[in-house]
């Protein structure tokens, strides 16, 4: 167990340090890179919990896709750091106020948190038994049987979001020449090429 706890402290310390670096870095691209390191360590913590499926999905979805888009956008933006710093003192009271409110709320939630007695029993007896099947399979069984409607609803929400973003960004620009591969393939020699015998000294009118 020593190795597991050493690994836990390693992952969590790096996760906290890199999360702090996300907000303290001056350069936004460096911030995103630190964010990626944070995701990695969170995935490491998942592995320690025995939730290898969640760990891999975290890496695939957040690090492999979401953070790439983050990085993409942040690199393309022309961010001037001094301009961002300018309003710092002006916004400090508002930001501090929101931060304090959130902190108090978290403290209240944490202080008043108690799990129901039934929940405790459920947690001790996970369905189905982890010793029998791998946790990927267990997760699949629960999601696709017990929670299938909720799961489908989540999928529909994502679909609506996807269609919404496509509708918002789709612009029809007139006068753009685009390659249409089917017309290119369907062109025939008779329609496009004309073989002409050119009389000498006369040319073609």
């Amino acid at each position: 167990m020593i190795v597991a706890s050493l690994a836990f402290y390693l992952f969590s310390v790096i996760a906290v340090v890199s999360a702090l670096n996300v907000i303290f870095q001056r350069n936004p691209v460096h911030s995103v890179l630190w964010l990626i390191l944070t995701f990695f360590n969170a995935a490491g913590l998942f592995v320690l919990l025995g939730a290898e499926f969640l760990a891999m999905i975290l890496v695939v979805v957040y690090v492999g896709a979401v953070a790439v888009l983050f990085l993409f956008v942040v690199m393309m933006l022309d961010i001037n750091i001094t301009v961002i710093r300018e309003g710092f003192m002006k916004y400090l009271p508002v930001g501090a106020f929101i931060g304090v409110v959130l902190l108090v709320e978290l403290a209240l939630v944490f202080g008043g948190w108690a799990s129901a007695p039934q929940a405790e029993a459920l947690r001790l007896a996970p369905t189905p038994d982890i010793a029998q099947i791998s946790n990927t399979e267990a997760l699949g069984r629960i999601i696709y049987t017990q929670y299938v409607y909720v799961f489908q609803a989540a999928g529909l929400v994502l679909l609506v979001a996807m269609i919404g973003s496509i509708v918002l960004t789709l612009r029809r620009r007139p006068g753009v020449r685009k390659q249409d591969i089917s017309t290119q393939v369907n062109r025939r020699k008779e329609d496009t090429v004309e073989v002409v015998k050119v009389p000498v000294g006369k040319g073609i009118a």
Binding site: M56, V59, G64, V68, L71, F72, M75, M76, T136, Q179
Partner: protein, 336 residues
């Protein structure tokens, strides 16, 4: 104390030894892949290729390595030094850590995890970071354009790779790579999934930035793309990482579609050959195809590349996934 030795130190040393074996073998293979590529393309173009250093030019990779090591490391002005040197390391280490789950023979692997195929997918989706970091940190237009292209390209082709992987693991009923190989006894998946085999191979070409999809380093327009500012050892790391990635992805193709270590026919004569030989032969076959493609096809244009990924491969692999699931359920072949 004895418990510590037997319980921790010995397994740790054993794992370390296995890792070392894998890394050394992969590195030597990578070095000779560069040699093989030059010789094969030379033969295809009726040239000789490197044949001077050593017998048949066999020492050429080492000569190249020594040459690169003795060159000067250049740090461009205005670049971000840490990210600049981190980028080639990321590329190289990602190409290496993927081998942690690849079974080369029954039981011959470093870690037999339950979600092996997801791990491979995760590692290959991270490959884009090395390139994007290199492109950004170099503080150069060419490098940046190359990195942008590469980010878009790799993210696009990952989607169809993911769907094809799901089709395969539906047929195998497991995310464990060894079990996927075992499930192919009798019928390698490239026969029932032949269209997906082709699409997967092409997507692998795009994912590893190989010809005809090598737009991130298109030398005719972007000098050398994201590698423009790199020299010496950092360049060598990129180069090795790219070729190690080719070998790794060929390994993935072999495991998913060509039956991994399985012999082509289940008889005593073929089974006498160790599994690793079959696996190496299959990887070499895929690598030869990659090199052949490089010698044959011109580079794709960027919009054509995107069209192929999103409008052709993605719908095809999605339809194939639904068809596979439907077929398995309808004929009652869903693996338990």
């Amino acid at each position: 104390m004895a418990e510590f030795w037997v319980g921790y130190l010995l397994p740790f040393l054993w794992i370390l030894g296995k890792i070392l074996m894998f890394v050394v073998v992969v590195l030597v293979c990578t070095a000779y892949l560069t040699y093989a590529e030059r010789r094969i393309i030379g033969a295809m173009q009726m040239r000789i290729g490197p044949n001077v250093v050593g017998w048949f030019g066999l020492l050429q990779p080492f000569a190249d390595a020594v040459k690169l090591l003795t060159k000067e490391t250049v740090l461009p002005t205005g670049s971000s030094p840490v990210v600049f040197f981190l980028a080639p390391m990321v590329t190289f280490s990602l190409a290496m850590i993927a081998w942690a789950v690849i079974p080369v023979s029954p039981g011959w692997l470093i870690s037999n995890i339950n979600v092996g195929i997801l791990y491979l997918f995760a590692v290959s989706s991270l490959g884009v970071y090395g390139i994007v970091m290199a492109g950004w940190a170099s503080n150069s237009r060419y490098a940046f354009l190359g990195a942008m292209r590469s980010a878009a390209q790799m993210v696009s082709y990952e989607v169809s790779i993911g769907f094809i992987m799901i089709s395969v693991l539906l047929s195998a009923g497991s995310l464990n790579l060894s079990q996927i190989v075992e499930a192919q006894k009798g019928l390698w998946y490239f026969i029932p999934h032949f269209p997906m085999f082709v699409i997967f191979f092409i997507s692998v070409l795009a994912e590893t930035n190989r010809h005809p999809f090598d737009l991130p380093e298109a030398e005719s327009e972007l000098v050398a793309g994201f590698m423009t500012e790199y020299s010496s050892m950092s360049f060598a790391l990129f180069f090795l990482g790219e070729y190690a990635n080719m070998i790794m992805m060929s390994g993935v193709v072999s495991i998913l579609f060509l039956g991994g270590w399985l012999a082509p026919m289940d008889n005593a004569f073929f089974n006498a050959v160790p599994g690793i030989v079959w696996f190496a032969l299959k990887i070499s076959f895929c690598l030869f195809l990659m090199i052949w493609v490089r010698a044959t096809f011109p580079r794709y244009r960027y919009d054509q590349l995107m069209r192929l990924g999103w409008k052709v491969f993605l719908p095809l692999s999605l339809v194939w996934l639904i068809a596979t699931a439907g077929f398995l359920v309808y004929t009652g072949r869903v693996p338990a």
